[in-house]
Amino acid sequence: MSEQQSLLQLKGITKIFSRGTVDEVTALDNINVDVNSEDFITIIGSNGAGKTTLLNIVAGVYPPERGGKIIINGNDITNLSEYKHARYVGRVYQDPHIGTATKMTVEENLAIAIMRGKTRGLRAATNRQRRELSRSVLAPLGLGLENRLNALVGTLSGGQRQALALVMATMSKPAILLLDEHIATLDPKTAQIVLELSETIVTQEKMTTLMVTHNMELALRYGNRLIMMHEGRVVVDMNQEQKANLTVNDLVIAFERASGKKFDDDSILLHHN
């Protein structure tokens, strides 16, 4: 492993919601994580552990509490607005509706993704060149989307939309890809397809990825690193070797040992099938 500077450094990230009220909650509590280039990190944790909050912080939806820092490729992006984070961050959401513009065509959606990070001008948004690019990017998916460039995205199925969202998020090669339980709402068969697609793209493009999942088995099977969160803190951080031969049960024990608490989130255990 080379000793280069990490791709993404999260230093002292804390996030408090509803500060000063009865509902005050510390969603993230002094998180310090270094993500290296080409890491594929799966993040698991019970509800309220802070997984989505962490992704939101990286994506710039809201800033961390003062003192926290987010550094990507040496750039401090802590206080930049969300759309400025987009230069470095690609994201696929859990809800297929959020990742795409349903009233616009497949081609137009991709055009927006292609334009990411570049200044928008008055040129025509879709031209032959971009159309070719779109087709070449969609064809490998095997979903027939390359023939439906003029279809309104609203007419696509949930799985097709997520696949499209995935392509859009990765098209311009962001520094880091965030997958936020992106297969959670899909049926098992489609979920498998999209998951394999994700892995293919990540491997091919050598993309640094953070994938939040509810599924412990997936978390073990995919990626080269596993982070488990609980109540806003990282309680488990295993690398490839450490997680290589673990079972879900082992993971539960590891959690209890690290957090000093009994693991009581059945929903995660139930997913192991």
Binding site: A59, S81, E82, Y83, K84, A86, R87, V89, R91, H97, I98, G99, T100, A101, T102, K103, M104, E108, N109, A111, I112, A113, M115, R116, G117, R120, G121, L122, R123, A124, A125, T126, L152, M168
Partner: protein
């Protein structure tokens, strides 16, 4: 046949000139998903600016252009209230509309400016073509104006910036996540929309011979009704046909009014009917979903 022709020509002219209002409303309500009520204020603003400049000797073409710029500023105001001060879009529009009433009075210095004796762009064109300044001339002028505007708008909406604008209204979060400053696109869209509305006000004022501070009352309803009727009759799908459908809807709406006037329907009832029409059309998608059990209550009450 005389009645028919006169009804048709009036409706065509009005469809074209108020079509700008409808397009402006379509831009904000549908494309940007930004319910903008500024329209009731920016329409008379256009008339006020054009009129005050014309009676002070300005070239009517420049005056009309100035009116458009004024509308852009009004839209800018609303958009800034919403994006920078985080005031709810609906409220921002209402506040701007209320403010504009006073501003329009200040610009005009009085509530009503007659333009009878002034030279308007319609007079210019009439002279150039050697025609009388009648309804047919108005139609010719408006056809050219509309054609140019629609062409430019259509091209714009297919450009990169235009695409970003459309996406902002469709899925703002996604667009932000893909690197677009949605504050800028919102500002751009609302400004353009109100510029168009003010342009309409300036043209209407010059054609009807006066501008009145109360000219804008009900414009938003007219715009909405036109958009909804246009969508209902023509069922357009692509942006290009949508723009045409909106103008067509305005024509149909004004035609309906013209017919109602001839039949002696009191205009007070007209407003009620218009409101009912818009209510029905807006409620139909919801009712349809309910019937199919597809309705999902939104997280936030709209």
């Amino acid at each position: 046949m005389d009645f028919f022709t006169s009804l048709m020509s009036t409706s065509v002219y009005e469809g074209l000139v108020y079509g700008f209002v409808a397009i402006g409303v379509y831009f904000t309500f549908r494309v940007l998903s930004f319910p903008d009520l500024t329209v009731d204020g920016s329409f008379p603003l256009g008339g006020a600016v054009a009129a005050i400049l014309i009676i002070n000797g300005a070239n009517p073409w420049l005056a009309t252009l100035a009116a458009l710029a004024a509308g852009v500023c009004a839209g800018l105001g609303t958009a800034l209230l919403n994006t920078k001060l985080r005031i709810n879009a609906l409220l921002a529009g209402i506040l701007m509309m209320v403010a504009l009433y006073s501003i329009n009075l200040m610009i005009m210095g009085r509530s009503n400016i007659p333009l009878l004796r002034e030279v308007t762009i319609f007079d210019h064109v009439a002279q150039a073509l050697g025609m009388r300044a009648d309804i047919n001339l108005s139609i010719i002028v408006m056809v050219v104006f509309s054609a140019v505007t629609l062409f430019v708008l259509n091209w714009f909406l297919h450009s990169e910036i235009g695409l970003a604008l459309r996406a902002t209204g469709d899925n703002e979060q996604m667009v932000r996540g893909l690197g677009t400053d949605t504050n800028m696109t919102t500002i751009l869209g609302v400004s353009i929309s109100n510029g168009l509305v003010a342009l309409s006000g300036a043209l209407v004022a010059q054609n009807q011979g006066f501008t009145d501070v109360g000219m804008g009352i009900g414009m938003i309803v007219m715009g909405l009704a036109s958009v909804i009727i246009g969508e209902g009759i023509f069922r357009p799908r692509k942006i290009t046909t949508i723009l045409l459908a909106v103008v067509g809807g305005t024509f149909a709406y004004r035609l309906f009014i013209g017919i109602a006037l001839r039949l002696g329907l009191p205009p007070t009832n007209l407003k009620l009917i218009t409101a009912v029409l818009v209510i029905v059309a807006l409620a139909i998608p919801y009712i349809r979903k309910k019937i199919r059990h597809e309705w999902v209550p939104p997280a936030v009450r709209m």
